[in-house]
């Protein structure tokens, strides 16, 4: 679908916004253009507004028009709606085979879209047999969990109809017996259920498990890391799966490993500073270079991107001399620091990558130290639907809050299972749900969930009492006494269990 792109001023846009739907007279000829939507740019480089267009017609004098210019008007656009959007670079649009780079006055272009599709609904992909069981359960009078329905559907044939009905009734009774009661304090139960096994966890910070040469934080420190929602975990690591067509090809896998590992100049070479000549010499360390599969030309390529230096390559000496264009000690020092961390190749953040083969399936998987989910998922060979990182905050920013919720659940479950501890999944699901409730990953504790309760008294009872009371005092906060802690403070029945139910006695009528 072709969209119309044009440049306009902010005043015109706000005028349009006020008066939509309206007719907008513009100074460019849109005779052969058919477009249902358009984008407005104010700086030629990116579009900031999205416009829905009803129709485009030839210019005709009329009173209700909004004019873009006073003279030279050629066409009228009937505008239905104007919306603010996050700036999109012009390069996201394509005209014919070329990407657009700038919009001078107006242009047409196709938004480059990779057809995204919603997943087919899980409900619709269900087996018909399972659907039947769900319908049968509904007749008996309850909603059956699908995991149970799947099991029942396998054995349905073996039962007589009367037995089958009785069986469903038994399931209903069992479900009712196991359900949690209204106003039960599930949070407290979850806290104790995770806390008690937590006391048995090892205090050792490091645990060498899984991949050799890899070092992943496990045990209590890892669990604390998860619930604290640390920005960067102490040992970020990724598990990278390759697309099925590549995962058995050893050469391709090793190539991916090379592509991943981030190599800087200091990893493969020494940098010598010559103060007299005001130059820096990069002396490649051959064993290290071979180990990391880097060649001199790779270093040269990387140096080309650095500004403010001139590079002299010396083939005989096998060293590369770099001279800052501006002669000063300060600049020399700056360039030296810059060269140290200059990436020759690889993905920033990934310190090491190791490929391992699964002996049963002969499929290779790559494990890394350090994590950079966004860039790894963009690699062609990588299976972007399975690749995983243990950095929860990164998952939240790359894949979204729901993925982060799943990651919290999986990571905490794995950490507990690693230590041989069994905690019911429901408790961990509750924690994961609470942490992601507000749309971002929040820590449990003072700075997170507990610190943001709506009740002043509950917050004051938890930590930093004076700060909360003082703040509530000058802001005039009101506490409706709906929670547990605040009701204990004032000496009322708490709003849990029977305390949450109000009974009203209606006298007998005489």
């Amino acid at each position: 679908m072709t969209s119309l792109l044009w440049k306009d001023t902010k005043t015109h846009v706000s005028e349009l916004k006020k008066r939509v739907p309206c007719d907008y007279a513009v100074d460019f000829d849109l005779k052969d253009v058919a477009a249902e939507d358009g984008y407005i740019t104010t700086d030629k480089k990116s579009v900031q507004y999205y416009v829905r267009i009803a129709e485009i017609s030839k210019f005709k004098e009329s009173e209700s028009l909004i004019l873009k210019k006073k003279t030279g008007l050629k066409s009228i656009i009937r505008v239905l709606e104007v919306m603010d959007i996050d700036p999109l670079p012009i390069s996201e649009f394509r005209k014919g085979k070329h990407k657009l780079s700038e919009v001078e006055t107006f242009d047409t272009g196709d938004r480059i879209l990779i057809k995204l599709e919603e997943k087919p609904s899980y409900l619709e992909t269900l087996d018909q047999k399972v659907k039947d069981v769900v319908a049968d359960a509904k007749k008996v009078g309850f909603d059956i969990p699908l995991s149970v329905a799947e099991k029942v559907s396998k054995h349905k044939k073996e039962m007589k109809p009367a037995v089958y009905k009785k069986f469903l009734e038994r399931i209903m009774a069992e479900l009712a017996r196991n359900g949690i009661d209204p106003h039960e304090a599930v949070g407290i139960i979850a806290a104790q259920s995770i806390g008690e096994p937590g006391t048995q966890m090892t205090m050792r910070t490091f645990h060498f498990a899984g991949v050799r040469e890899m070092n992943v934080t496990l045990g209590l420190p890892r669990l604390i890391e998860i619930v604290d929602a640390r920005r960067i975990p102490s040992t970020p690591s990724m598990t990278i799966y390759l697309k099925p067509e590549f995962e058995k090809e050893q050469d391709i896998v090793l190539n991916v490993v090379k592509k991943l590992e981030n190599t800087t100049v200091i990893d493969v070479a020494d940098i010598i500073t010559d103060v007299g000549e005001m130059t820096l010499s990069i002396v490649p360390d051959m064993p290290k270079m071979n180990d990391r599969l880097v060649e001199n030309s790779d270093i040269m390529d990387a140096l080309e991107k650095v500004k403010g230096i001139s590079v002299i390559s010396d083939e005989k000496d096998n060293r590369i001399t770099v001279k800052p264009t501006q002669e000063s000690f300060k600049k020399l020092y700056q360039v030296q620091e810059q060269l140290k961390v200059l990436t020759i190749k690889g993905i920033p953040g990934i310190k090491r990558a190791i490929a391992r083969i699964d002996n049963l399936t002969e499929a290779w998987t790559v494990y890394t130290q350090g994590s950079n989910l966004r860039e790894v998922l963009e690699l062609d060979e990588v299976d972007a639907s399975k690749t995983y990182t243990n950095d929860i905050i990164e998952v939240a920013s790359v894949l979204g809050i729901e993925a982060a919720k799943n990651a919290i659940f999986l990571e905490s479950q794995r950490t507990l299972a690693e230590q041989g501890l069994e905690v019911d999944q429901r408790h961990l699901m509750l924690v994961a749900d609470m942490m992601t409730f507000g749309g971002s990953v929040r820590a449990v504790g003072r700075t997170g969930i507990s610190g943001r309760k709506s009740s002043v008294l509950a917050r004051a009872a938890f930590e930093i009492t004076t700060k909360h009371l003082l703040r509530a005092g000058y802001l005039g906060e009101v506490d409706p006494l709906t929670g547990v802690a605040e009701n204990i403070i004032v000496g009322q029945p708490i709003t849990l269990g029977t305390g949450a139910v109000n009974l009203v006695y209606k006298g007998l009528k005489k």
Binding site: S121, P145, E402
Partner: protein, 87 residues
């Protein structure tokens, strides 16, 4: 190299946009006000992906999330798009 479809990732459950006319029905069924629903950021990658399918989405639209649950087969969850997410 194309744009990544986050909706395809294993960790990401189904996200569906709730039609505007169905929003009241959802809220009534849950017996809740819209601002009390769990939130999802406007800049959330999954919302961005939905925007590519449905066009721009304004704040307050409801997203139905169908999660695969280890205990119940699947469970339905709702989130409202919000512009003010504090980190």
């Amino acid at each position: 190299m194309g744009k990544l479809n986050v909706l395809r990732h294993e960790l990401v459950p189904e996200h569906h946009l709730v039609k505007k006319e169905d929003e009241d029905k959802v809220l009534k069924e849950l017996n809740i006000a819209k601002d009390l629903l769990p939130k999802i950021s406007r800049n959330d990658p999954a919302v961005k992906a939905l925007e590519d399918i449905h066009g721009p989405l304004e704040e307050g639209r409801i997203i139905r999330i169908v999660r695969k649950s280890p205990t119940a087969g699947f469970s339905i969850y709702y989130r409202a798009i919000s512009g003010e997410i504090f980190k």
